[in-house]
Symmetry: D2
Subunit: 339 residues, 4 copies
């Protein structure tokens, strides 16, 4: 149960309301975000919502039986737009293109990527400065130093930064230099990280876990939302299966299912989803047709010399072609009557 | 190693050649199909193919290191066209649309589906008369009686029949009433069935196993090809994973990978691939963009009354819309420079 | 719903009974096995079983809500003993040891295995004469010729034969030379094969599918049972997962779950379950502790020279040691109060 | 490549050595643990280790080609004993029993569990005070307050504490109140947490990831080891597969494989591994036979009233019986000649 409160509800009214819901056998949690004020009731008792609806201070009330509540489309039918400023955003009905290298490597590399992006009217740049690596001996990214160099160039070019945050202690230091915090596939259920990201006023893109379910991805988003941050983006990036001919199994089924269950925008990552450079474009376009609101893919001036993930990274010529194809495919999709 | 033989090779020459390859440490199998005559050499010894190439009776020779040989693109770069007669076929560069009910139910039902197909210029019809069911107490299809009724109507309408064969003993009785034998996901590794299908002159569409690998699908196709039948179609229909929000996980990664590895056409089944009616169109179109040569989906006049699989079956209005969208999406894809 | 009929029920009584159950909204199937006569009612209507229970000709009646019925423990609490003659059997409360090579290779090889078995009081021998192989170019077994040689030696030695049947047409020719028909992991859902095995009076051991569920294994057993054959053994042999450090993932969880759901005996195959010779013994003993009624493992005089599966096959010294350890572990388990 | 350094190596010698290895084309990382001083060389160049071996300051040198190095058995053949003080430890050749509730609930509850443990000579207690929960609205544990109460009772009773640490910031506050830090299945690849745990002088038990590979588990252990902490325990707790009849699929194959690859002790968690109370004992005993060095299972005075995981928790009578059976099974295993 989600109860949307009025802005002007008094503390006395709120306390009385919580008390009443408790008496109905529901556990109540108050959620205050940058946008609204909600009471979440968890329970199984049959309830007559008209009784609550008549109380003062309540804007609306919704029964949501899913484990996730605030990210559900059952109470908020209208899709959520993630506004990143300067007219840039991620939302249903538009097609966000996010590209850039796996790892941020140098000032020069950043300049080249940004040049490529500007030429192709791409305004969202991805790149890792903190890299989760399965081996402790592998390159772990340039860290804050790299981020600051990147930030300066991106700001000058009017480009937004999407980059992974790996732990709570990085949130504060990264905060002023990024536009979208990315939660990586190994951290989808790092609940402390999600809790803390609930407290910031920056957008958060949550990748589906290495073998996470669709339900778990939505619950992870619920963590951030219930922590206070409604600016959420979901990302399908492939799951782990028995099939080893591709790096992961891109689960495009997840796209229409997530879009039907949640009001949050959904982005597809074909680079990790298939892991094979020459097939990234097909999977990107398949993602567009499956209903994605954005595509995030890896590009590099010289993929074979990239510090990481070169085998799934496009060069600039391929990337330019793909960006154009994504736009044309999306334009066609918009003429269709799809859910 | 694949050795393509000349039509006019004499038996003596052939025997001498096989002897020679044996001496090189290779096990030789002769394969005679409706199209050609091949020797398949299995072995690991280093070999100087020029030595063999100089022999009489040989058209060409190819080193193919994959486990599958004759279905590989490494020897036959040109995609294979499956000709079903009357100008109907399945091939790279075209878009086959195959639709129809899960189960053939009645004369009336067939007539309605065919009417719908004619209106929408669809000429390949799917439907089951022998139904594999996990419970022995479930409806198992109308059998040969149903097939004969279907055949008569289909022939009159100029429509081709794609239907599942479940066991060796059915091949002969079905043979004259079908255009494409379908091997179901539970029979992908029914090697005896594959062996026997190698002996017929009808096209065979092999569905990927319930949790089959891409490699296994190609090896199953190799069975039929090495049995003598080159008219093969591969079908991605979703795999079994831990994710239960969809019936299967449609693995569209398999499409470009199969197309790169094999010269055989690849068809996508979004109905089984996601198993949820309202999302079948998106996944069909995603399949087109992933590079499919055909889409096979379930349709029925009244899906909610279908004997089986109603939850993933489109009604005729939805099907008409989808066929149009598939064609438009394919037309756009053809303008792209994709692998 | 399972209705056990009396032996002396008249056809008129039976017809009346079936009619009555039909009227209750249930679809009725009659099942006649070598042991009993049953009516299986499939439906969802609420039913007062006392009403039926009062009718003549009925021995007992049971509500079984699972998809599988006759293999369920809900109607037959007492475990089923599979009697193979000469005092040899597979059953709850005993520990069957089944060993032998992956493939039957020669008269000599058989003699050596049998010698080893006699020395170690093992009376059930496994071995393949029809081999399912993913490549059409691989060794496919010695066929009927091999089976006949094996049969002669086994009969003389008082040893029972467990071997795989791959297709319907083999059932009749194999019938007189085997004791247990094995259905391989690729044929667990070959429903035609299961149907036909329901008509024979030999025991059938069904291996769990490559990625079959526990539920599907039970439903496959239901096929054979409802075809008329109650002599069934279930076999856990590992499932396909993302983990590639072992050949399969031996799912020992399946053992207590199958034993709780069904009255049929359960055998564990550690050879395919892990696929690594030096770890087969540990997994065999783990299987015993998990509750298996038998262990089936591969042995060969010289595993490194075996035609197939050598990497997971024990030599005779290892096999002798393991048989002893299995017996000691089982003896300990019997002293425990386990389900 | 692992180079074990002598205690008395001078900084000059060490610098020269690192320089030399760099020149051979290897990237060198120095690792200092509480026990030893190592140089880890990562590279692929062929190398003559005798050349390095002759240098001063080197105790030993080992080629380890696996991705993980210091946790490998290839350089340290002797199994590692984890000493927890007071004669309590976890090691190859012994059988550690770890039990306790899923969540620490109250002072009373702790007292009851400890009473049960003392009666049954169990000296390692598990329990959660920080609980990772997929829903943000679920009970998240008593936190530090609960841990302090637990600690006091455990110390008095001579019982050691095993409990989950979820984030870096908890390490310091928990440090003085625990004996073993547990890394949960959702944090197996939380590399920052692993890095920090490398700096503490307490034992760390790492659970295999929700769908982690055996290789990834070893690499996660390598993180902690290379951070400086050699006191590591590995835990198999079931993996995510398509099978839903059990909570997870307990992968006992992992036990002998991990024991063969690493010198670290391996513990099995049958409670999460199967998730069904009545089958926990069988799976625990199967784990013992598979080669585990310890079993960790959940127990509670009244499982049906437990705050979490009650469905997989044993009551005290069941736990007492199981502890006895584990010991007897282990005693039998010790008489066997297993790897």
């Amino acid at each position: 149960m989600i109860i949307q409160l009025n802005q002007d509800i008094s503390n006395t009214q709120k306390a009385a309301l919580m008390d009443q819901i408790n008496h109905m056998g529901y556990k109540v949690t108050e959620v205050k975000t940058q946008v609204g004020d909600y009471l979440i009731g968890i329970g199984k008792a049959a309830i007559d919502i008209r009784k609550i609806g008549l109380l003062n201070g309540i804007q609306d009330i919704h029964i949501v039986s899913d484990e996730y509540k605030l990210v559900s489309k059952k109470w908020k039918v209208k899709p959520t737009r993630i506004d990143l400023g300067d007219g840039i955003g991620i939302e249903d009905g538009e097609m966000a293109i996010i590209t850039g290298p796996c790892s941020i490597e140098s000032e020069e590399q950043i300049a080249k990527v940004i040049g490529h992006m500007k030429e192709n009217q791409i305004s969202l740049m991805r790149g890792g400065v903190f890299k989760p690596r399965s081996s402790p001996y592998a390159f772990r990214g340039l860290g804050m130093e790299g981020l600051k160099i990147w930030y300066q160039q991106a700001r000058e070019a009017g480009i937004k930064i999407v980059t992974e945050v790996m732990q709570v202690s990085q949130i504060e230091e990264m905060h002023d230099y990024i536009d979208v915090f990315q939660v990586g596939a190994r951290n989808t259920q790092n609940f402390n990280l999600l809790d803390e990201l609930g407290k910031v006023d920056k957008a958060v893109m949550i990748k589906r876990g290495i073998s996470g379910t669709i339900e778990e991805l939505l619950q992870s988003a619920e963590y951030v939302f219930s922590g206070g941050n409604e600016k959420l983006i979901l990302c399908e990036r492939g799951i782990r299966t028995y099939e080893k001919a591709s790096r992961n199994t891109l689960d495009l089924n997840a796209v229409p299912i997530l879009k039907a269950k949640s009001h949050l925008p959904v982005v597809v990552d074909p680079s990790h989803g298939i892991g094979i450079r020459e097939f990234v474009p097909q999977m990107a376009l398949a993602g567009v047709m499956a209903g994605a609101d954005g595509i995030i893919y890896e590009s590099h001036e010289n993929p074979d010399k990239a510090y990481s993930d070169g085998q799934q990274t496009l060069n600039f010529a391929q990337s330019a072609l793909l960006a154009d194809q994504i736009r044309k495919t999306f334009a066609l999709r918009k003429t269709f009557d799809l859910l």
